[in-house]
Symmetry: C2
Subunit: 222 residues, 2 copies
DNA sequence: ACGTTTTGACAATCTATCTTGTCAGATACC
DNA sequence: GGTATCTGACAAGATAGATTGTCAAAACGT
């Protein structure tokens, strides 16, 4: 995979430093620069319009470093998506926890953070909402995973029903996430005409369907 | 655009017949064959994996006829989408009308037809649900139009609020359609694990949010 | 039957991008 | 300062698919 240029060095010995960083650190930095550049470029011309060359220029790197960190464009898209989603998910979880134990309160806190970030950072929002769809089966799988995480975050009760055969919980979960994302998509693409409070209220309305249905099913199964 | 080979004929005179059809009819038939072939091929390899050549082979036509009817692949995708959506929309409207005047009854009738068709025809379903996303701005616009039509069909009350500035009705509409489509997407991609009745019930739950909210707003504004 | 139109097969061109390779110059270590 | 490593710019090859063009054979009208 990568050149082992420390062949005759002790394993504890660091590789030659450049700019104060060893080989690994430099590689990691370049990887991150490429991810951030990709988010920028996707935000401007879309994933499909983004060439390797353009992303490398935005990252101030040359093509060789692209292939050092990613096998192909798709791998970078996935990395960029996971990067964006990872941050968002962590922040939403923190916001929910800060809101206490009431499911409704936690939901509203998470949604408020979600829409706030979408408004603050339109380009990552675009990657998260738009670019990720319809690229390939592999990318779709990554997306599905992420959406399941969000669903569990918003309405943990749904998670409990997951084991059931032919469960309708998965459909509830899909519907909820689909509603929220589609609302977000429209809000973002129309350049945020409504207040965050209004958007959250509407999105919460759809989440409440899943919340109450999941609750119902739990009571019934006890 | 097209060759005018009737230059010296009276305008009522038909072009030479082939297979009992005049030039226009043959062109229309080829166009339709291409659309149907495209739906087939998209259903197998996706829009992105579908080459002009493959679609022409499936249609038993050669490339020249592709460019006779469509400027490029995107134009064919749009035509195929509109073809699929047109049928579906008409059928849903008929089902709703057959169900009478009660909004809830009409909603369930339309949804039942929707999910029934998705199960009967997986390949058009794929075009309608999946392939249409994330191709280009032009395609997205076509999709948005179609979704608005569906929203108006399911909950006409939303339509009434359309005029309002910064209206939240558009978001309600988006959320509802997003929920239904995402539910459909999952149901289709998991090969229909739940009964149609269950899926309709869950989808209707999300639509009811839009239904009651739209009703609320109407009362308030009277 | 004859000439014209239409068709089908396929070659040729064109374009765009990915991907790999080369090489001179810069940078760090000793 | 000398040497090994790393970097940036860019060329070159490879690939894939869209789009246009050619031509002979088939289908039609008269």
């Amino acid at each position: 995979m990568h050149h082992v240029n420390t062949l005759f060095m002790g394993s504890s010995r660091k590789a030659r430093l450049y700019g104060g960083m060893d080989a690994e650190e430099r590689r990691a930095e370049r990887r991150l620069k490429l991810i951030n550049a990709a988010v920028e470029v996707y935000g401007e011309v879309g994933y499909r319009g983004a060439t390797v060359k353009a992303i490398c220029e935005a990252a101030e790197l040359t093509e060789r470093y692209f292939y050092e960190s990613f096998a192909n464009s798709e791998a970078l898209l996935i990395a960029a998506y996971n990067h964006v989603v990872g941050h968002l998910h962590d922040e939403m979880a923190a916001a929910a926890n800060a809101a206490g134990h009431d499911a409704e309160q936690r939901l509203r806190a998470a949604l408020t953070l979600y829409f706030t970030r979408l408004k603050q950072h339109p380009k990552p929002a675009r990657v998260f909402l738009l670019e990720i769809s319809g690229i390939s089966a592999a990318v779709d799988a990554v997306k599905l995973d992420a959406l399941r995480d969000f669903s569990d975050l918003l309405v943990p009760a749904i998670d409990a029903k997951r084991g059931d055969r032919n469960s309708t919980a998965a459909l509830l979960s899909s519907g909820m996430v689909g509603a929220v994302i589609t609302i977000a998509l429209r809000w973002v693409s129309k350049q945020y005409p409504q207040t965050i409070e209004d958007v959250v209220a509407i999105a919460a309305g759809f989440c409440r369907v899943a919340l109450t249905e999941a609750g119902k099913n739990r009571l019934r199964s006890v």
